[in-house]
């Protein structure tokens, strides 16, 4: 329990010490890069042809609730998958 509390405090300190803004490096990431990095955190990366335009928008919102994606990540990934 002690280690868990220390870990939680560490995360809070990291949040407080950094601004809630993304760096230029992160802001410059493309949709395909975010798709490759985030989808594989839990499952295999999906093929863009698997779903239609509307379906990807709906699934993107569902994935945002599951994986706590940022709004920008979700929008860029959906934009790549629906192009």
């Amino acid at each position: 329990m002690t280690w868990i509390m220390i870990g939680g405090l560490g995360i809070l300190v990291a949040i407080i010490m950094n601004s809630c803004a993304e760096s230029k490096k992160v802001a410059a990431k493309s949709g395909v890069q975010l798709w490759a990095e985030n989808c594989q955190r839990c499952h295999n990366t999906p093929s863009p042809n698997s779903f239609s335009h509307d379906q990807w928008i709906t699934l993107g919102m569902h994935m945002q609730t599951r994986a706590q994606l940022t709004n920008e990540e979700r929008d860029k990934i959906i934009s790549f998958l629906t192009q």
Binding site: I11, A14, V26, T58, M61, Q68, T70
Partner: protein
């Protein structure tokens, strides 16, 4: 008007009165040309009309197909397979007792769960997943989410509590690398309530939060706890939350800490001051080191109930114990994603270690560990065939005077499982 003095040989029509031949030819030529052009114009107009009509029909069809604000789709999953197990129970000082079993579907992983996702615009999302699993119908989740602002999603209904990483993200059959779930990792499960969650940037890092206020857990008469369900058992609510940090800009590493606290006692029962407390930590690391993709997952959960007096079912006396349980798993999988051979690149080798400790001197106390090894073949990104061998060893620490039994249980199970995302 009849003119008696008119020359009968004189042409009556104007054209024929023109005596100059070239002029007559010219006028005739113009007349013929006009007739032809007129005919062509009629044909072109007819063709244009047909074309316009066709274009209008197509435009209408396109308009009918244009996405509106609402969208409903069905996804979900199905998992089924076969399990063959051999269980050996060895009582203290007694001979081992062996039992064998096999089943279609396997003991704990048959599931058909179609998930309905209904979206209105980009602000509202309803998620509903009924489930047929283990021979009965149930609901995995049924909730509505409102995407209020960047980094803020408000949800309400029946949802998976934000504790750890496994239940919310890794439990689906087409995601889990091994056939069985890690034993004990199902707490605290799903509950009714409200919550907020979101992911936010943090320089090169990213962090996320997930908080909920729900009905809570229920303490049973033997000290175990379970989800209370739709009818709350007391006036108190339970708070659950997870905080996570992704320290690398490529999101390859995620570290999370979770907590839960709330009263678990039935209103008016002898356990009125019984509080359930859970702590957890989880880790996820996914990294490509060519030609392999390494996927590491782990979770540690601790469940505590403050000390209570329980009723001995044998003689109705009181007994007590330190109601602390620990559940943990760690797994790694390796997949040669860069292999040239199409069969080899779709193979994935996975290994998991599970360790549980439930309270000694309770009716359900044991020390349990399990090792799973599996080989998966990915037919597509969301379709997998799994072969898993699981070996477990459990030593009972139950209170014998309350009706518990002592002994060691060894189980070997072979799973063959097929999982598909619908």
């Amino acid at each position: 008007m009849f003119d008696p003095n008119e020359d009968p040989e004189k042409p009556k029509f104007g054209f024929m009165r023109i005596k100059h031949l070239p002029t007559r030819c010219l006028i005739l030529g113009f007349a013929l040309l006009s007739i032809v052009q007129g005919g062509r114009a009629q044909q072109t107009t007819a063709a244009d009309s047909a074309l316009l009509e066709r274009v209008t029909t197509l435009e209408q069809q396109v308009a009918d197909q244009k996405p509106g604000e609402s969208h409903l789709m069905i996804v979900g999953l199905t998992t089924f397979g076969f399990a063959n197990s051999k269980t050996v129970f060895t009582p203290p000082g007694g001979p081992p007792q062996t039992a064998k079993a096999n089943s279609f579907p396997d003991a704990d992983r048959y599931e058909l769960s179609p998930m309905l996702l209904w979206r209105h615009g980009t602000k509202w999302l309803v998620e509903f997943e009924p489930s047929f699993s283990g021979g009965s119908l149930g609901v995995n989740w049924a909730n509505i989410s409102y995407f209020a602002a960047p980094g803020l999603v408000i949800h309400a209904g029946y949802f998976v509590l934000p504790f750890g990483i496994y239940a919310k993200r890794l439990a689906a059959g087409w995601i889990d690398k091994l056939a069985p779930d890690p034993q004990g990792i199902d707490l605290p499960g799903s509950d009714f309530g409200i919550g907020v969650s979101g992911g936010l940037p943090l320089g090169n890092m990213k962090w996320s939060y997930d908080l909920s206020l729900t009905n809570g857990l229920q303490l049973l008469s033997d000290g175990e706890i379970q989800g209370v369900g739709i009818v709350d058992n007391n006036k108190n609510k339970t708070i659950t939350g997870r905080l996570a940090l992704l320290p690398f800009s490529n999101s390859s590493l995620e570290i999370g800490v979770s907590g839960l606290y709330g009263n678990a006692a039935d209103e008016g029962s002898n356990y009125s001051n019984a509080n359930s407390t859970m702590y957890g930590a989880d880790l996820s690391y996914v990294k490509t080191l060519k030609p392999f993709l390494f996927n590491v997952k782990g979770q540690l959960s601790k469940v505590l109930v403050n000390r209570q007096n329980y009723i001995n079912p044998v003689d109705s006396t009181n007994y007590t114990f330190d109601n602390t349980s620990t559940f943990a798993f760690a797994q790694i999988s390796i997949r040669p994603v860069s292999a040239d051979n199409n069969i080899v690149k779709n193979l994935e080798l996975a290994f998991r270690y599970v360790n549980n400790t439930t309270p000694s001197n309770s009716l359900w106390g044991q020390n349990y560990n399990e090792e799973d090894i599996g080989l998966d073949y990915w037919l597509s990104w969301r379709t997998v065939l799994k072969f898993t061998y699981a070996k477990s060893h459990a030593v009972s620490t139950q209170k014998v005077s309350a009706g518990g039994t002592l002994g060691a249980t060894d189980m070997n199970t072979i799973y063959l499982q097929f999982a598909l995302q619908l």
